[in-house]
């Protein structure tokens, strides 16, 4: 038999041993250095707390046990994170744009680390930010989860932008600004208050029970945050987010007439889709509306989304007030614009046309290769242009939309093959762009004459 404290001391040694075995052969030294340093610091801190706690202080021992438990879970999650099981170029690109807004604006604060892992399920995309507030944590580590079955499907990974919204919502210094935007978003709608939301759910989706006290209020906060995260995802990842959202969530939407015992944690897909298309219109993301020839490429892509929302609106699924969705979108855009690289960059349609042509030729959609003649041999003379990973995703979705309507792709096999191929090519393009980023970064470090721009490692 162990005393609680002795047991924790033994477990502490076991967790430390686990850490030493984690990722030994799976990642480069530079990638895991911060991870090890942070986990070692947490272990030392937990041990210090444990040594200072007597066996009689049961609540303190329990809290220390939970800290150790959390760390053991984190180490196991990262240990299971194998490069072969998720799209690490996409993960790296996402972490780069997300890190600034997820960093607490505190003295001594370090940027969070992002670690990636695959899980089962067909839509298990998630980011698990380490919890807000005091804990045995110095540098926060966010776990990003990909569904293993979709590891190469980078077009669908755009949905992770929604999860970055949740991570940003856990950052104290911008929380109040985000909450104000949330208030604007739901203002005047049936879900503006918890009671209004329950009444709407009762009348429209057959909810019968409020549950225990506080549940409706909690679900109200949840719905508001989900609507906000949808806007956040759209502003971060651009039109690709809309496609990923519709593709993944519509099959999981509750069929009409399905009664729910309690208010669900998320608003219905239909209401979210309408709000997103409203926001995309406000952001000018439906490029074909200008009716210029060069933008006709996006016509099928745009029409599919606009028609989907119109049909849902006609069927009575509108929930939020249009003008408030648009106002909240503008406010969120302004807030997100304060952080480097966070907002979907302005689109150059000539570039998208080039990327589309590359996909047509079954090669990764990158500008240098399509243009030809100004590739690797010129790297000594000029810094090659970088293509944002979100533009690659957009080109992939546009290409898919246009090819998908061809009769040859009506068959399931050919349709699946087409989608897999586009995803693979886009994934390779993102990887290639990342390599260029590293090259620029290393070159700028070596350069002393100032002729090369300072690059970002990503």
């Amino acid at each position: 038999m162990f005393s609680p404290k002795d047991y924790l001391l033994v477990e502490w040694a076991n967790v430390r041993r686990n850490l030493q075995e984690t990722l030994r052969f799976r990642y480069s030294e530079s990638h895991i250095r911060d991870f090890y340093a942070e986990c070692e610091e947490r272990l030392d801190y937990i041990k210090k707390n444990l040594d200072a706690t007597s066996t009689k202080e049961t609540s303190d021992l329990r809290e220390i046990a939970l800290s150790l438990d959390n760390l053991a879970h984190l180490i196991a999650r990262v240990e299971r994170s194998h490069l072969e099981e998720f799209s690490w170029p996409f993960g790296d690109a996402l972490a780069h744009v997300a890190k600034h807004i997820c960093t607490e604006q505190l003295a001594l604060q370090r940027e969070p680390l992002f670690f990636f892992a695959a899980e089962g399920g067909i839509n298990s995309y998630a980011i698990r930010p380490e919890k807000q507030g005091p804990s045995a944590v110095d540098q926060k580590i966010f776990s990003v989860i990909f569904p293993r079955s979709l590891k190469d499907h980078v077009l669908l990974h755009a949905i992770l932008a929604h999860e970055v919204g949740h991570a940003a919502y856990a950052t104290d210094s911008i929380l109040h600004d985000l909450q104000r935007i949330c208030e604007t978003l739901i203002a005047g709608s049936p879900v503006a208050t918890p009671n209004g939301m329950f009444a709407w759910c009762k009348n429209n989706i057959g909810v019968v029970n409020k549950g225990s006290s506080g549940v409706v209020a909690e679900r109200h906060a949840s719905w508001t945050e989900e609507f906000y995260c949808d806007l956040f995802g759209l502003i971060l990842c651009g039109p690709s987010y809309l496609c990923a959202f519709q593709s993944m969530l519509e099959p999981m939407a509750l069929p009409k007439g399905t009664a729910s015992q309690f208010v669900p944690s998320h608003p219905p897909f239909e209401c979210r889709m309408i709000a997103l298309v409203e926001a995309a219109t406000e952001l000018g993301f439906f490029y074909s509306r200008d009716r210029k020839d060069k933008e006709s490429l996006a016509r099928t892509f745009d029409a599919a989304l606009i028609d989907k929302a119109s049909n849902l609106r006609a069927a009575g699924h509108s929930l939020l007030i249009s003008r408030n969705v648009r106002k909240a979108t503008r406010e969120l855009m302004a807030l997100m614009g304060r952080f480097d690289d966070l907002v979907f960059p302005p689109l150059d349609f000539e570039l998208i046309q080039k990327l589309d042509r590359a996909l047509e030729r079954n090669i990764p959609p990158t500008e240098g290769i399509v243009a030809g003649g100004k590739r690797i041999r010129q790297w000594e003379d000029r810094v090659p242009d970088r293509i944002d990973f979100r533009h690659i995703l957009y080109a992939g979705w546009v290409h898919w939309s246009n090819k998908r309507k061809l009769p040859i792709y009506k068959e399931v096999d050919s349709m699946e093959k087409l989608f897999s191929t586009i995803n693979r090519l886009c994934s390779h393009a993102i990887l290639q762009q990342q390599s260029i980023g590293w090259w620029i970064h290393n070159l700028s470090r070596k350069s002393h004459d100032g002729s090369v721009e300072k690059g970002n490692p990503r």
Binding site: Y45, N49, E63, S67, E104, V137, A170, D172, H176
Partner: protein
């Protein structure tokens, strides 16, 4: 499963008390001069929550994740409310003339003085030894407030 998921929830009051107590011990060992980086960072986080009044407990969900029905009554903000009240009582005892924002900033600055010089974000502080004293009084009062039984 050995224990229910709800019993795995951390108690922010106990965690904050442990951090404050550890910092005091670290200060005693160094004759009042220093504390570990992780202690200081976490106390700054706590003050940030107080500054922005962002005490809340809901965990982020996935894009489509639906918690199980038996989780519906699990959430409670009681610990966070106690934590906020404890900080408010220390605020009004130590520096009642300051707003929550200024109180948080003053205490944060004093706590920063406990960091080794090469790890501080600023090299000088107007508080000097008075900063150490303020940090110590804050930590003592916070430990006491967090040790009190809930009403």
């Amino acid at each position: 499963m050995l224990i229910s998921p709800s019993s795995r929830s951390s108690d922010p009051v106990v965690m904050s008390r442990i951090i404050a107590r550890t910092m005091l011990q670290e200060m005693e060992k160094s004759l009042g001069k220093s504390a570990s980086r992780i202690s200081v960072v976490n106390m700054l986080r706590l003050l940030e929550m107080y500054r922005y009044d962002s005490f809340r407990s809901r965990n982020a969900l996935g894009v489509l994740e639906h918690p199980r029905v038996n989780d519906l009554s699990a959430s409670t903000d009681a610990g966070l409310i106690r934590l906020r009240d404890a900080l408010a009582s220390v605020h009004h005892k130590l520096l009642p003339q300051l707003s929550a924002e200024n109180f948080s900033m003053s205490i944060s600055e004093a706590l920063m003085k406990l960091m080794p010089q090469d790890q501080r974000s600023e090299t000088t502080s107007p508080h000097g030894d008075a900063g150490h004293s303020l940090a110590k009084r804050f930590l003592k009062n916070l430990t006491k407030a967090l040790s009190a039984q809930p009403a």
